[in-house]
Every structure is written in structure tokens, then in C-alpha cells.
Symmetry: C2
């Protein structure tokens, strides 16, 4: 959890404003506007769910045309499954921003998260916009990270200041999400900004590359939602141009960016609905990156593996069965090895002779658990992060709307 004491570096060129607009019965922040300096470049990846929210259709279209000046985002209602009416609703409140800031509709991105299928409270948003536009502050990341939450128990921020050529550059990001978490975007919204200068094209390819090893490698329940998006903004205010840096520094920045995205991704898993365990699944030596990912995901999405880990039961047969179920091109299993943490469990197609169940039982009492699989058919690796499956998950999802 990020508390107010944790250092969050503001990003020059980004100002934020959040408010309670009345989306929830309980009074809490639920609506934010982010103001983005006009010289910024912005990239985004969007949900692959075919039942896309109008917000995704609108934002995708606008981002293709130009860089946004404002991002408006609400929690409490996803404005999904709402069709033309939902699209018209978001146009109405976007126009309110246009009117008051002399912007055009293409200058705005809209994101929503919350219950699917209900009309959004347009009036509440329109009534809140004047106050929001008056209260921008570069230090309001904490409030912003809270305003976007839904079933999350904690807010999620990651912020770094990095020395590049005797200057400091800043990367700060927030994310929301705890259920409906699955690769190809989950029920999550992510906003990360840096004061680096990066061309739109390179920013976009950087975001895709990093998403594949962060948000696309976490799963809570195998669900992908209608509203997900991950936005990366480069304001250029630091006057350091990424494109013209030497390769060594480019690699350094890419690594830092990856760390930030992986930190945010892991925070989602840690806050996974009802989670009591943080599970890392490492698959090594598969014959393709795709197979490595599929095997890791098959383990990470198995309700039987997840309930066994919740029970702290080293029922490794379920891991073996999940590997056997994975979508790979192999017809049979190769000579695979399964480890719980560092303890070898399965090798040469049978239980390892020196395996001691009481030791793995002890190991599974930890909050953080590693499942290590070596597939021994190639050189490709993948890591997936997930949580266990608990009574609490059922409770949260059986009560979401009530």
C-alpha cells in the first residue's frame, strides 16, 4: 500500500485533480481529470475484449489522431454494454471540458471502471467539471490513485527519480485493478508519466514491449474486461531526449520503466480479490516464448492449484495436471522438473526420491510462493504472477453490486 509518507515525484507537465462526484453511495473520490502539457506524446494499449466500452472506442479513435490534453476517468460505473447511449453520454461530458478549456473533442481521452451495463451519471460529472478544472495540482497523484479504485483494497503508485547525465528524470505511475485480471489487459486502468522526451512512435513500441512482461504476465481469475487501458505519457519537460541517448542509457531507462510496470503489476496481484498468497510461476527452458507463457498461465489460472495453495497443501499433482492441460504444441510432456520454491518435487516423470512433504508444507506457509518449472525442451523462459483462490474471492464477487 502506498501511503502519504511514501515519496511520489511529480512529473513536470502533468497536473491532476480529483473529486467525489456521487458515483458511489459512500463519499469517496471517484472522478479525476489529468491535464497534460501540449508538447507531450501519449501512447496507450487497450483491452482486447470484443464487448468494448464506448470509452475505449472513443479514446482509441482520438489517440490515433492526436495527443490528448485532458484525460477524464471515473470509477463506480464502467459505461460498458451501454451502446450508442453510453457513447453519447461521454460525448456530453467531454464537451463540457471542451467548452471550458477551449479544446476540441479529439483533445480528450475518457476512461471508466466499475459496474457494467448501467448508464453513467452524466449530470454528476458535468457538475463536477468546473471544480475539477480549478484544482489542478502536480502533487495530486495520491488522490488520483485513490479516485480510480473499485474493488481494490489499496491504492497503487510507483514513482522513481533517475539520474541521467547529471540531471534527474522522473517516472510516476498509478494503476487500479484486483479482479478480472488476465493478460491482454485486465480490469485495470494504468497511467504512467515521465518528463523524458520520447517520440510517439517509440513511446508506443516501448509501452507494448513493457506491457508484455508486466501487465500481460499477471492473472487473478482469467477474466479480461471491457474497459481496460494502459496509458504512457512523455511530457519532455526534462529536456532529455530518449531517442538521442546512447544505447547504454536507453537500456537503463527501459529497465527502470520495466521495473515500475512490474511493480505496479505485482501490486495488482497482491491486492487480488481475496488473495492470501502471492504466487510467482517461473517456466524455464521451453521451446518457444509462447509455450513458456502458456504453461505458466495454465498453472496460474488453475482453480485447483490456486485452492491448494490457499490451503497450503503441496498437492503438486495439480501442478502437473495443469501443465498437461496447457496449450502447447507438445504431444507429450518432456522430461520436466517441478520445484516448490527451491525444493525439487518432480523429476524423471516421477516424484523426486528425496522429496519430503513436510518441508514443502512448511514452505507453503509463506505469503510469497514460487512454482518453478523446467521444461527442458529449449531456451525460452516466462514468469507469471498470480494469487490464490479463496472464500473471500467468492464473497467479493458474489456481493459486488449489493
Amino acid at each position: 500500500m502506498n501511503n502519504k509518507n511514501e515519496k511520489v515525484f511529480p512529473v513536470e507537465g502533468i497536473r491532476l485533480s480529483s473529486i467525489y462526484s456521487g458515483m458511489y453511495k459512500k463519499k469517496r473520490l471517484d472522478l479525476s481529470i489529468m491535464e497534460i502539457d501540449i508538447k507531450s506524446n501519449v501512447a496507450a494499449v487497450f483491452t482486447k475484449n470484443k464487448a468494448k466500452s464506448p470509452t475505449i472506442i472513443f479514446s482509441k479513435k482520438n489517440l490515433k489522431q492526436k495527443n490528448p490534453k485532458y484525460i477524464i476517468v471515473n470509477s463506480g460505473n464502467a459505461n460498458a454494454g451501454t451502446g450508442v447511449a453510453g457513447y453519447n453520454d461521454l460525448i456530453k461530458y467531454s464537451n463540457e471540458i471542451c467548452k471550458r478549456t477551449s479544446s476540441c473533442i479529439e483533445d480528450i481521452l475518457v476512461f471508466s471502471t466499475g459496474v457494467i451495463g448501467e448508464r453513467i451519471k452524466v449530470k454528476n460529472i458535468i457538475n463536477s467539471i468546473p471544480t475539477l478544472l480549478k484544482n489542478f495540482h502536480k502533487n495530486s497523484w495520491y488522490e488520483f490513485s485513490n479516485a480510480i479504485l473499485t474493488t481494490d483494497k489499496v491504492n497503487k503508485i510507483c514513482s522513481k527519480s533517475i539520474k541521467i547525465k547529471d540531471k534527474n528524470i522522473t517516472i510516476t505511475g498509478v494503476v487500479k485493478g484486483s479482479g478480472m485480471i488476465m493478460p491482454n489487459m485486465a480490469t485495470m486502468l494504468s497511467f504512467v508519466a515521465t518528463d523524458l522526451k520520447i517520440s510517439k512512435k517509440i513511446l508506443s513500441s516501448l509501452l507494448r514491449e513493457i506491457t508484455d512482461v508486466s501487465y500481460n504476465m499477471i492473472t487473478v481469475d482469467g477474466e479480461t474486461s471491457t474497459n481496460d487501458a494502459s496509458v504512457l505519457i512523455a511530457t519532455g519537460k526534462s529536456n532529455i531526449n530518449y531517442n538521442s541517448l546512447e544505447n547504454k542509457l536507453k537500456t537503463l531507462i527501459k529497465e527502470r520503466l520495466k521495473e515500475i510496470y512490474q511493480t505496479l503489476a505485482k501490486k495488482i496481484v497482491e491486492d487480488g480479490e481475496g488473495a492470501t498468497k502471492f504466487i510467482t510461476v517461473n517456466v524455464k527452458n521451453a521451446n518457444s516464448i509462447k509455450n513458456a507463457k502458456n504453461i505458466a498461465m495454465s498453472i496460474a489460472n488453475s482453480p485447483l492449484v490456486k485452492t491448494a495453495l490457499f490451503a497450503e497443501d503441496p498437492n503438486w499433482g495439480r501442478i502437473l495436471s495443469a501443465i498437461g492441460n496447457s496449450k502447447t504444441s507438445d504431444k507429450n510432456l518432456p522430461n520436466l522438473e517441478i520445484k516448490l520454491g527451491k525444493m525439487l518435487v518432480f523429476k524423471n516423470n516421477k516424484l523426486y526420491s528425496k522429496y519430503k512433504e513436510y518441508m514443502t508444507k512448511e514452505y507453503l506457509k509463506n505469503k510469497s510462493i514460487e512454482i518453478n518449472v523446467s521444461y527442458n525442451t529449449g531456451v525460452y523462459n516466462a514468469t507469471v504472477w498470480t494469487s490464490d483462490l479463496t472464500y473471500e474471492y467468492i464473497k467479493i464477487n458474489a456481493n459486488y453490486r449489493s
Copy 2:
């Protein structure tokens, strides 16, 4: 649940024998042998899990060579993840049957179901075989249906007598399974026998065709196990030859066989681990049978849909989102319709104007619920049966080994 009062027709040519061999701490039937008349033809389909149990490897190989004379099946231990040692174990007790019945090893099929990764108690099985072989009875289907159960709460039998040309033919079958249920064979074993005469080739194609509309259309938790098999036996004792019947009668028999398999399949779902609801997902008018199945399975496997139905919450947005997540070739959703039971919920890309939530809330109080989706892009339909996701599922699977 099948109780002793329900009529179970014996199948001439099939005799059964069951015993407590000590696989469980609790005294219960856990080991059976089925004796099959030598003139019978036998077909089977097996799990697609790549981590196959040695029992599956052994039985598949034998069935290719000839028709079995004996099937031995135990619950309490899956003999999976046991490699060469597990294979040798099953050879040992199969040899015991050979020795005592003058059969060869290829005359035997072996099936096991239960915990994965533990060595099977060979001695217990060997010690039980003499008694089993002395106690065959054609009326012992009820005991057989009990001996194969694991986490199942009820036994599952379906038996019919059908009039064909003034004679009666009989079809009787049993199945086990309640979790790890997913298409392409689940944690289930199924044995169905008929006294019809059917060639091995036609029996095999019949079984495949019927499996695709029965066991391959149910899902409890999206898991597929290491040990599943479905065996269909035609003893020929009725002297009615299926192959030489007129087409009308062939169709009639096929329909009856389909009904029996669908009844057994639905019994698995009704007994789904922790299930409180029986859910039928009908997808109509998709542009291919594969798309229709994928859409229905995406809804049926969604933990969010399943927890909402457990809570009797008409959260139809989750159904929409699950449809959006389905693996189909469509890039966007066509003009789809979603109904809960007979009540139209979603149409023209939005909530149906006359939708009344209090009515669907009332409807969801039923034990049996229908989700009806019309995709409106073609003429292909699919039906999938599933259960809800409940606290009890977690409890059962967190405590399975303890």
C-alpha cells in the same frame, strides 16, 4: 441421485463385482472389476491432458489391439504422475487377473481416479482380486457406480430399455465426476454398455459423435484431468444388429444413446463441487459450430458469471464481458441478444428498454437457470451445462487431501 429403488436394467454379457480394498480410510467400495462377454465390441475416448496417467497409456494401447475381457477400476488413487513405477504397479495387479482367469495382459483395461502423484496400493488390489472374481453379478451396477466415486456426493446411473422390432434392447451406464470438469474429458470415468450388436468401428464413431454433445459440453471449473476415460461396450447379446437396422431405427437408437449420455453429463454438473445452481448456456445462430461452442464455454467458465449466479444477482454485464472474451474469429460483437430464461436483457447493443431487474432477480432464485444468447451471424447452435462457483467449491478443493 440414483437410489436402489430406481430401475437399473442389467445388460446381458456384462457382470460386475465391487469391494472395499482399503484405498480410503473410511470403509467404502473403492475397487471394481467388470467382466465383458468375449463377443463384445468396445470403444473408448481418453483424456487429452498431456500428463496422462499410466492407466490411460496402458488401456489405450490394449484397446487398439483387441476387445477387453475385464475392466478393473479403482477410486482413491489416480496412479498419475507416477511414471514407470506406476506403470509397473498396474501391470502387477493386471497379471493377477490374467493368472486367475487364463487371460493375457491385452485382455485388460485399467482405470484409476483419485489423488495424483501417490503410488497405488498394489497389494491391496492383488489381495482383493480373488474375492472380486468370485462375486460377479449382472445386477451389480449400483455398487459399481458407488465404487468409482471420489468427491462426488451422489452416484450417477442411467438405464433404459428400448423396444426395437418387438424385442427389448438395453442401455445402462454409470459415470463419476464432479470437479476438474471441462471438455475433452474431465475428471470423469464413464462406462456404458448395451446388448446391441455394433461393429467396433461404428461403435467408436458413435461414441465420438455423442461425446461431442454430452461430456464435451459440460464444465465445472475448466480443468481437464490426467485420468479420464469414457468406455462404450456393445455385447451383442440381444441379437439385434445395429449395422443392419433401417435408418429410422438407427436414428432412434442414436437419439436414445445421446439422451443417456446427456443425462449422465448433466448429473455430473448437478453434482458439481459446491454447486447450488444448474446452468444451461444456449448459444444460437453463430457463424460456426466452433464459435458457438467457444462463446458458450466462455460464459460457462467465467468465475464472475458463476459467482454472480451463486449470489442470484442478474449482473448481465459479466455475461456480456464473457462473450467479449470468447475465442472467436469475430473482431467485434454482432447484434447479439442476451436472455436470462425467457427475459430479454440485452439487444441492439444496449439494455432492453422493457427490462425489469426485479423479474430477473426473481428468476435467478430457481435452481435451474438458462442463459440464452443469440449471436445472429449464422445458423450454428451449441449448448453447454455448468454450475455456479461457491464457497463450498473452495472448501472441497482446499481440503481434498486432508
